[in-house]
């Protein structure tokens, strides 16, 4: 697995470097158009450094608080917490990630945290209600592998670069349009000056688009890798495949997501409705394709098996896994629907799962539960301001 991460690091580093050069070029071009290339370069670097500092130290807490995620412990939702811990063990993460629930009916999940020692996994309440244990394991396996492969750090670096480029291009192009002309005439520059100006303007327009395309390319590769890792950790690709199917069937969009945070989620939170033309400009590969690849993994759960399935779905052509990952992959068997099938607990039904998650969210927002003898469960807010409460069903009074 080490090999695999390293070979990916090299490839990703090249793409990140390309974005970095793009950013420096735009800074320099902008400065040059105003008469001082180095000053532009310095401005670009300063903007980039400030954004980096914010993203590095505050990125995960910004993302989590923006999503209004609620942190849970082992007793709040034992099944979810246990599944995260199981995936932590099978991926060999050094430390248990924090577990969060987002109170949102949309179906999604994401991972965040700049390194494996300080990471979090978050899942929406809608998704948690919908998935059974095997599916949940597949989704969490996917998220944990984003942490393990350091995708979160990579995507943070990329989105900071992208953001810097977009900011520079936005302000730069406005500044050029409104003040460039007067400057040029006062200096009385020749034709060379004009050409440079034209190049700068074209750069302002193209750079954000190019940066975005690179960003999408990195993100899509990472999604395939995370799917493959999830299959490897769970030894059960069908779990993730069936979870993705449920995710694809949903149409509700996550309210708290934005373009920059999109790659962190298991499915693109801004899904265009089933259009293949958007493939190039999406952070995620199409869901149907990801499902087909996972289902085509008949032989085993290794990276090599995923690669073979990928080629099968794409009718030949190059695979998607890095060569080093394939070289190091041995035969990895699949497992049956549940590990240690004899000890499988009865699966809670959809209704029970919904109640479970609902109760947890009530509890986390300060509500108190009182079980009435008639079987009703009263949910009392913390600021009720009364000493007793009456059961609406049978009329018994309970002390709060």
């Amino acid at each position: 697995m080490w090999e695999q991460i390293r070979s990916n690091q090299v490839r990703s580093a090249i793409l990140v470097a390309a974005m970095g050069i793009l950013m420096l070029a735009i800074g320099f071009g902008l400065g040059y158009a105003f008469g001082n290339g180095i000053a532009g370069l310095v401005i670009a670097l300063v903007v980039w450094a400030i954004m980096n500092l914010i993203a590095y130290f505050q990125g995960d807490s910004i993302l989590l608080s923006m999503s209004r995620a609620i942190k849970i412990g082992p007793d709040d939702h034992p099944r979810l917490y246990n599944v995260v811990e199981e995936m932590k063990i099978s991926s060999g993460l050094p430390k248990m990630p924090d577990v969060y629930i987002i109170d949102d009916p949309a179906l999604n999940a994401f991972a965040t945290g700049r390194d494996p020692n300080k990471a979090s996994v978050a899942i929406t309440s809608g998704l948690l209600e919908k998935l059974n244990r095997d599916e949940l394991e597949g989704v969490i396996g996917h998220e944990v592998s984003h942490i393990k492969n350091r995708d979160v750090l990579l995507m943070t670096i990329c989105s900071v670069l992208l953001g810097t480029i977009v900011i520079l291009a936005w302000y730069g192009s406005r500044a050029l349009i409104f003040s460039g002309g007067s400057r040029r005439s006062s200096k009385g520059g020749g034709q060379g000056q004009l050409i440079i100006l034209a190049v700068a303007i074209i750069l302002m327009i193209l750079a954000p688009i190019m940066a975005q395309l690179i960003y999408f390319a990195i993100s899509r590769k990472r999604e395939y890798l995370a799917d493959a890792s999830s299959a490897l950790y769970t030894r059960y690709p069908e779990g993730l495949a069936s979870a993705l199917e449920k995710l694809g069937a949903s149409t509700s969009q996550l309210k708290s997501a934005n373009q920059a945070t999109a790659p962190m989620y298991i499915v693109n939170p801004f899904r265009p409705k089933g259009r293949a033309a958007t493939d190039l400009t999406s952070t995620h590969p199409p869901l149907s394709e990801r499902i087909r690849i996972l289902r085509a993994m008949a032989g085993g759960a290794s990276y090599a098996d995923y690669d073979k399935a990928y080629q099968q779905v794409h009718k030949g052509g190059a695979g998607v896994m890095p060569a080093a990952a394939l070289a190091a992959a041995g035969a990895v068997g699949l497992r049956a629907a549940a590990p240690e099938a004899a000890l499988k607990e009865p699966e809670p039904s959809r209704l029970e799962r919904t109640r479970e998650v609902g109760d947890l969210l009530w509890q986390k927002s300060g509500y108190k539960f009182i079980d009435c003898e008639c079987g009703t469960r009263l949910k009392v807010p913390s600021n009720i301001g009364r000493a007793t409460v009456k059961c609406p069903h049978c009329g018994r009074t309970h002390p709060v």
Binding site: M1, N82, E85, E86, S90, R235, A342, L343, E345
Partner: protein
């Protein structure tokens, strides 16, 4: 000094650095294998700790299943004693504990009251998860051994490994451990 001497010194320095790099990589992988093995014990111990609680919860409901409950407690005590007595003995004892637990949970099916007990349901989730954690920690152990052995056998790290005495890791085999043995569950009616 002539130029060729500098070149030779340079090559030697690079070789030494490269040697250290590979050596450190091997040490890291070996430590990962050791740590993965220790993790299996952590999970097994967790299962041992769950059992007294489980037996206590179940006892009140199942007066007629004393033999099954005693078998679980006994298997757990034996398994606890075999910690540190080598993988083979440990695997056998843990296999027996798994079997006893499976029998107990099969018997539970006859007690609907128990199955509705919140305490029991919570314990069952913990048990299921602990079983998963045990098998996932074994899986990770084997993955770690696989990576480590690969490194030891492959060029060029095999040169460093043989020079510094790295030995291949041993896989955990479930077949040997009698874990795959399907425990026998009898479906006789409980005697009144």
């Amino acid at each position: 000094m002539p130029v060729w001497a500098w070149v030779i010194i340079g090559i030697v320095v690079v070789l030494i650095l490269w040697f250290f790099l590979i050596f450190n990589g091997l040490v890291r992988l070996r430590n990962q294998v050791k740590n993965a093995w220790a993790q299996i014990d952590v999970q097994l111990k967790r299962r041992h700790d769950l059992i007294p609680n489980l037996v206590q919860t179940v006892q009140g409901y199942m007066q007629y299943e004393r033999a099954t409950l005693e078998a679980v407690t006994k298997a757990r005590n034996i398994a606890q004693q075999t910690i540190g007595q080598g993988p083979a003995a440990q695997a056998k004892a843990e296999g027996e504990l798994s079997g006893a637990l499976t029998r107990l949970l099969a018997v539970v099916e006859r007690y609907p009251d128990l199955k509705a007990n919140q305490n029991f349901l919570a314990l069952q989730e913990q048990l299921t998860s602990t079983e998963n954690k045990i098998s996932f920690s074994r899986q990770f152990y084997n993955d770690s051994v696989f990576n480590y052995n690969n490194k030891i056998q492959m060029v060029p790290s095999n040169v460093v490994a043989s020079m510094t005495g790295f030995k291949q890791g041993e896989f955990f085999k479930v077949e040997e451990a009698a874990e795959r043995e399907v425990p026998k569950v009898s479906f006789e009616q409980p005697k009144p």
